[in-house]
Symmetry: C2
Subunit: 454 residues, 2 copies
């Protein structure tokens, strides 16, 4: 039997993220629901019924102001705003599920590592070991404008994040010995001071003495996700990530990225197979080809070019709204062109492609439904990608949660029939689900494990 794959649902704590426009469909519940607990509880329940690994919360702070030089496009289309803080939802959802994991995005740039370490230890306790941290390092002009810290050059951000992770590993892995939470009523010892240690960390950016305030949680270190696509980001992932999340790629590119990530892991002294690689994609699953055709037409009719352009502005910092559509990409100022050129893979590589061509291509790409089909058709496409070395998928569908009910009711049984997917949960701790029974804590070959006390 093939190794079984992993499935996450990808969301933000805002209406139907990434599947722009799905909130407008009549059977969407996300726009009315994203501010209420009931909506998230229903969503998590559907995923648990589908034996999903985890509900994955992306997050970003602030409202993007790049496209058109204002927040209008982001707000009108719900591009990462309006949103709430996802960290507050996790315990509530854990209390209504028993196996589903929860991945939470938290930036290493907005809060000190002591804060992050306490937050994730707390989440791991109340979820009984079902929490993952999606590590992001991003700082943007919007963050800076909102007093959330200065913009830091890309590679330096990862250098700082390496130090940040080291502080967290020491708090999680080194500060408290197992059993130091004694709860000895006779002796009057709640926690044994001899088993709780300062970490005395000093590095260029952080001085943290410890000890950690929270006793060891089931996983100690939360399961670690990361999604860096740049060379420095992929080196960081090779070092720290236990699961890496790629954007949608062609099979050839998947092979290449999988090789790079696993090579980086090996270079960091890790078993390359212990780094799980997931790909995000937007999909629609229908009961029949006719159903798929109608659903696709409905989705396409509700799609939003403006949302895609706001997203593009958020990711690249380039405002395509302030340049006339007729301008040729080749005539743009050279430094703008350098980074826009990366996106020009979206248009034919003719020298005479215009800003208008690029915008049309971004609108198509940003609203593309990567996989649309019956369960059998979508499962075939997933199998093709698994053959390239992927371990699983981050699924985006809409409307929410109805689109996920289709995935659970149609696609999941098809994957199960093929022996590709679990028929039930075997383990509760999230790391065990990825790395095998008994592997509740970091593997010994993970760089974080070397901070353990001997």
């Amino acid at each position: 039997m093939a190794e079984q794959i992993h499935l996450n649902a990808f969301t933000l704590a805002c209406p139907s993220p990434q599947f722009w426009g799905a909130w407008k469909l009549p059977n969407d519940e996300s726009a009315e629901g994203f501010l209420s607990l009931d909506y998230w509880i229903k969503f998590a329940g559907i995923l648990e019924r589908g034996k999903f690994d985890a509900l994955f919360f992306a997050d970003t702070m602030g409202v993007s102001d790049v496209y058109g030089g204002s927040e209008a496009a982001a707000l009108r289309n719900g591009v990462f705003a309006p949103a709430i803080d996802p960290t507050i939802l996790i315990a509530a959802l854990a209390g209504r599920t028993s196996h589903l994991g929860f991945a939470v995005t938290f930036a290493t740039s907005h809060a000190p590592p002591y804060h992050a370490a306490r937050l994730f230890s707390s989440l791991d306790h109340v979820t009984k070991g079902r929490v993952a941290w999606n590590i992001v390092t991003s700082t943007s002009k919007v963050n800076e404008a909102n007093g959330l810290g200065p913009v830091v050059p890309h590679d330096e951000r990862y250098d700082i994040a390496d130090e940040y992770l080291e502080v967290c590993y020491k708090l999680w892995e080194q500060s408290w010995e197992d059993g130091a939470l004694r709860l000895d009523r006779e002796a009057g010892v709640l926690a044994d001071p001899d088993g709780v240690h300062r970490i005395n960390h000093r590095s260029e950016h952080f001085s943290v003495r410890g000890p950690h305030q929270t006793p060891p949680s089931p996983q100690r270190t939360p399961f670690l996700y990361q999604a860096g696509g740049s060379p420095r980001g992929m080196a960081f992932a090779g070092h720290h990530a236990e699961a890496v999340f790629l954007g949608m790629q062609s099979p050839d590119r998947v092979r290449e990225m999988v090789d790079t990530i696993r090579g980086n892991a090996a270079a960091a002294g890790r078993d390359p197979k212990a780094v799980k690689i997931l790909m995000g994609f937007r999909c629609l699953v229908g009961e029949s080809e006719r159903d798929v055709r109608l659903r696709r037409a409905e989705m396409e009719a509700s799609s939003s070019a403006e949302a895609a352009l706001a997203m593009y502005g958020y990711w690249t910092g380039h405002d395509l709204g302030s340049t006339p559509d007729g301008v040729k990409l080749g005539d743009l100022a050279s430094n703008d062109f350098a980074s826009i050129a990366k996106s020009s893979v979206l248009v034919d590589n003719r020298g005479d492609a215009t800003v208008g061509d690029l915008k049309a291509a971004i609108a198509r790409d940003g609203n593309a439904i990567h996989f649309a089909g019956t369960a059998r058709q979508v499962a075939d496409q997933m199998e093709e990608l698994i053959a390239c070395g992927l371990d699983g998928f981050n699924i985006v569908t809409g409307p929410v949660p109805a689109g996920y009910e289709e995935v659970v009711d149609l696609l999941v049984p098809e994957l199960q029939r093929r022996g590709l997917y679990r028929s039930g949960y075997r383990e509760t701790v999230l790391r065990e689900r990825y790395l095998g029974k008994g592997q509740k804590r970091l593997r010994p070959d993970h760089p974080g494990a070397r901070f353990r006390r001997r």
Copy 2:
């Protein structure tokens, strides 16, 4: 009928805080439970059965190292550590209750105001308007040692906090117009950009442009608690606090403090009666005098002098563990003496009182059961204090949650019989419970209200 009083339960997300030693009693559930959701859900359910206003979470980051120059005393006795992050519990508890409010302590020193504003808007949404922010400004050497920001002189901390609150008010009250979250499917407008505004805040310590990322929550600004006891702290409270929390005081001192706080509120242009004043106390309620006697003896036998001394070290920064007991207070170095002298009200004001005398007094005071009695006796003591101008109480009892079951089953009915306490919840939004039906948002005379758009 007298105006009805308010009752909160005071806790931290750690075992039996403030009622040191209660965790050792056989019917305590806090030591085994504080890391699990089930414990907190049970605790919240008991309070809702007792029609409590709110569950109040104090919080502090790090493990105090003052007493004896190490973390040993704090860890052994559970003085604010081990603990978890209380912010993650609120949604889970709101999902299992329908009226109980939740007050969360959050320091203005550890995270930027944009972060705090988003966090509290999120909590207020998922609780449907049941959240309060307990504003603290404290920075300590322990915070600093853990990379959570430098120690800032006392009065300057409040100056910074004034600016911090101004940023939050602008994000909560000014950034989003009512109705800007349009959810207009036909027009394709999720949020109306014309109704969402940047705040463009610039002051000495903060530059925050906005807009806020989260639409207006039921209360917009969470209900605001504060507990400063210093002159500058009480001025801050007069300006910002909607409920002020005092430590246990004598009736005369209560009168004096109530007058000061209400005077400060009037000076800030507010209706002095709109600032509610609550006092914290440790209590035991028994079914009979015999029961009270036995419970008191049991509690006293489990009390901990070391816990009280660790607490004293945490609050004052003075390590009484490193000075021999025989040293006279008058012989201590003058700067130490200046602040220790404040505590010497705990001992007779004889010039020859020793460090040993002071430690004994701190141990007594730190473990004192302020009110112990049958429901009738405790209610009498509460009435005496209400006559001094108090609006209610923050109750600490133990073991947890059994001690709160006694309060709910014995004391609450006695207060109800006297017409002092609600027999049922009338309103869901926390501010309405304090300020009256319809008062979901800041009163017009609250300084935060002047940041509203006209």
